[in-house]
Amino acid sequence: MSIEITRRNFIQFLVGCVAGIHATPLPWKLTDDIAIWTQNWPWVPVPPVGEFTHVNSVCRLCPGGCGIKVRKVDERAVKIEGRTDYPLNPGGICPVGMGGLQLLYDETLRFPGPMKRVGPRGAGEFANISWEEALKLLNDRIARLRKEGRPQALAAVDGNPRRSTMSVMVERLLRAVGSRNYLNIPGAEDLSSMVGELMQGTEAPVAFDLENADYILSFGCGLLEGWGAPGRVLNAWGLWRSEPFKGKVRVVQIESRASNTASKADQWVPIKPGTETALALGLAHVIIKERLHDTRFVNDYAFGFNNWRSGYGKERMGFKEMVLKQYSPMRVAYVTGLNPDQIVSLAKEFARAKAPVAIFGKGKGNLSGSLYEAMAVHSLNALVGNINRPGGALVPEPLPLSSLPEVIPDDAARRGLEQGRLDQAGSWRYPFTRSLVNNLTEAILSASESPVDTLLIFSSNPAYTLPDGGAFRKALGKIPFLVSFSPFRDETALMCDLILPDHTYLEKMDDVAWPPGLQYPLYGVSRPVVDPLYNTKHAGDVIIHLAKGLGQAVGSAFPWKNYEEVLKARAKGLYEAGGGLTRFEEGQTPAWKMVNKASGSRPGYKSFDDMWKQIKGGGLWYKPSPAERNWEGLFKTPTGKFEFFSSRIELAFSRAAEKRPLQAVLKSMGVQQTGDEACMPHYEEPRLNVDRSAFPLQMVPYEMINLASDWIPNPPYLYKSLFDTQLLKDDSFAEINPKTAAKYGLKQGDLVMVKSPKGEVRVRLNLFEGAMPGMVYLPMGFGHTAYDEFLRGKGANPNDIVHGPKDPLSGYPIWWITPVKLVKV
């Protein structure tokens, strides 16, 4: 029996035993035997009754930060529900958030207290130690590095979202110690910041006013797979399908596979994975050629649209000439696999919509993407002048959190800070990227001795989640001392030497500083729903404690008693900015509606202390702000305009070329184009350097909303919602098109090895018409070697075989096309 009902058998499945309706055999004798079952009840728990209460908080299982209401019976939390008094997700939450209590209470998923490794790395054998001993171990290690004059050998990999207070704390600790090697796991938000910086001149990630848009052109964003702030996006999806929007909002999904988003969208545009840039520029070609662009915007508020003259009087190519010459529908059709008419009509529809918005960020947005691609997509928003307009792409001002006082490094720290970053982020090679974990991996693997002595790992599971063919895991093996702050027994933690377990999100106070992509600033704070169950400590408090133990110089960078004081110190800026609200009532005008008109609501707090009390009591701070602002003075780029041609990129090229030939600069950056195109979004086919006859197919990883694939373990409830064509016993499935299967003589359910130049994984095959021929789709979130019997040993992790070059300019790994072949087992 298959639970994935196809057209033919859906109904047959349901009525399989329908005879029961018409004739009811009552073989009484049988009931005797069966009753034996019921006389044999060993242990069924009886949940204790008690007083029912509920606690309002914020979910922090993803950066989305939904409002949650937790039902309690005395001290026990028994159910998580969505909050109706939260503007982001009025009432609903995602399945992962819904299953959060299993992550709190499943003892075998968690570390009960600080531990030190006693078995081989990865074996998960640990001995309990006291917090005192644990902190001393780390303290001594860091103090020694400082004494030896190499504080830069302390590094941190952090999965906390960029704007969060935790990420600020970790980076600060490293700075005070004397290391620039703070690495944040890169995701779509970092890409979005780079687009913001290069095209709009502000580092704040581009925000999208989805709820007020009437045409959403999504370049592979998994809107229904967990993109952005999932609670918000799924809610928006429901709105688009309700009055008064029903039939008036069009969602177009560009993606090679019939994902949920693609299937449920109004239109699915299947293109070859990795050719999104070409399509975006092809659409730009048609829009410009048909004169459907906003001439006022491109002429008066944009730079580099038309050809221009440099200071030396040299004529330079503008965006218009580039796309008109190089991105005709014919050429783009060839690259993407579409036909030219589709491209033309898509472009016209987009440009003629009242409030069209083009969005980027692959899948859930947990993983990095391509910089030129994101810029190409965003240039469509600019072409139609839908920047900072209702329903468009917004140029947000940064969240007005107070900055913490400057860190004053001592001599020991200063020496370390003079050393460059190991990942070369921000160097001439990767001028705009803020961290590159893949480069750190390379630096460690290529050195005879690891340049990192001690690695701190926060809120992430890079040994499992990085799309790098297992390289980071190898690098970990070379690092002398690994420290995990994870509350969970994840793959990375099991390799660590010291475990300093954090509380889970339901046991601590922490912040959500502006969920990704949201059109208005929102700041939420989680609070302890239950007292910590085990001997864990808030990682923020541990950092403060650690810093103080490292002497006056480091300690003075952390003048706070505890983490809550840090949160409060930062939140002060929200009060000073004025005009924010701390309450959202059920049934109130949705916050996204207020984006159209300045809100007249009064703040509802009298002083900062009053405001903070409300925020930390499960409240929030948000500030609906009018979207329609003048384009005048909006862009902080060197030209003061929206830049189709990025002067920052050009400047970075010429600075780097002062010391070496430009050709060499571009080559190091992975940019194939050498002309003016290199400063504009343009398409380059990635060089895979692999014999395609040996690896004729392409593996494309995909994400699901009902399977956690980031550092959070998957709540076991969610396995109920997987089909037995996604996971069967211990095998996960690859989706391939029936035509591809026929070509290689493969059948439904066959066991195969998917082999890439990096390795192989074993999966079963699911033949799916919605898979593009020639592609092999592997789900992310399976293949754990850690955690407990619910998660361990189930299926394969596509990250293990990812193989690809780096994205030009950004240096991020390209993970969305891996050359593979299938070998039947």
């Binding site: 035993c17 396995y719 997987l722 619910f790």
Partner: protein
């Protein structure tokens, strides 16, 4: 749509809008969490796995790139009739010890675990496969701590009994208790809603009293796009679906060629 909810005073029912349903599965998780449904280490054995709310995936069967996927969330249908015109659900009519009953006042099909003898006739009689047999006790190994999230409002089940969606009956009790405490005899729309309806992030599920013309559900079922699963078995389910897609509606029943009538005129 014919009137068929005249039996009791209240007839609670559900409308699931498949155009809105994203297939996220939050309803399934919410239901399991609300109702203490046990999770086993292997949930991929769909003959054994228990899901009061089950998501089904259907495709239009067309070749790439015309393939479309849609989802059917399936709770218990709380059928009003057994298909032969009797005011009794198919499962209720076959249960020897009357462990399952159709409540006349609410329309809810209940399940009393302590009465259930595990004969599984009801399971066989249910055309919607909404009933699940407990082959084992719930999976709560000692020392794992899983029992700590169990809700006292719903009793955990033991090996050998059948369980299914109850329309979160305890939530009706909760709402009634509150109303009585406030001196009211009746509960308002929205005071009693099921865990799945409440959790759905896309607001695809609406719950209410089909007998109350003011309730949203009783208006929604008048849509020309409203239908029920296997309508022609005449089991009179109180769970309705909405879909504007012909291929989705077609799949809800065994239509003979040419028999399915697409919606051509849209009105009240």
């Amino acid at each position: 749509m014919e009137k068929e909810h005249g039996h009791g005073k209240h007839q609670y029912g559900m409308v699931i809008d498949l155009d809105k349903c994203t297939g996220c599965g939050t309803c399934m998780t919410a239901c399991a969490a609300e109702n203490n449904v046990s999770v086993r280490p292997d949930e991929s054995d769909k003959q054994r796995s228990i899901a009061w709310m089950q998501l089904f995936k259907i495709t239009n069967g067309k070749e790439f790139p015309h393939t479309e996927v849609s989802y059917f969330p399936r709770p218990c249908m709380h059928c009003n009739e057994n298909g032969r015109g009797h005011h009794v659900s198919p499962c209720v009519s076959v249960c020897p010890p009357t462990a399952t009953q159709l409540d006349l006042d609410t329309g809810i099909v209940s399940q009393i675990y302590t009465r259930c003898i595990g004969c599984r006739y009801c399971q066989a009689a249910c055309p919607y496969k909404a009933r699940y047999f407990n082959w084992w006790d719930g999976y709560f190994p000692k020392g794992k701590g899983l029992e700590r999230y169990l809700s006292p409002e719903v009793s955990p089940r033991m090996r050998g009994v059948v369980e299914k969606c109850t329309f979160c009956h305890h939530r009706l009790m909760r709402a009634k208790t509150k109303a009585y405490a406030e001196g009211r005899r009746e509960i308002e729309e929205g005071e009693y809603i099921t865990a799945c309806a409440e959790a759905c992030p896309a607001q695809a599920i609406t719950f209410g009293d089909l007998n109350n013309p003011k309730h949203k559900v009783s208006q929604l079922i008048k849509s020309p796009y409203a239908f029920r699963l296997l309508e022609r078995l005449n089991t009179k389910p109180k769970v309705y679906y909405l879909s504007t897609k012909d291929w989705v509606r077609k799949m809800a029943d065994n239509y003979l060629p040419g028999e399915f009538k697409p919606v051509t005129k849209i009105g009240g």
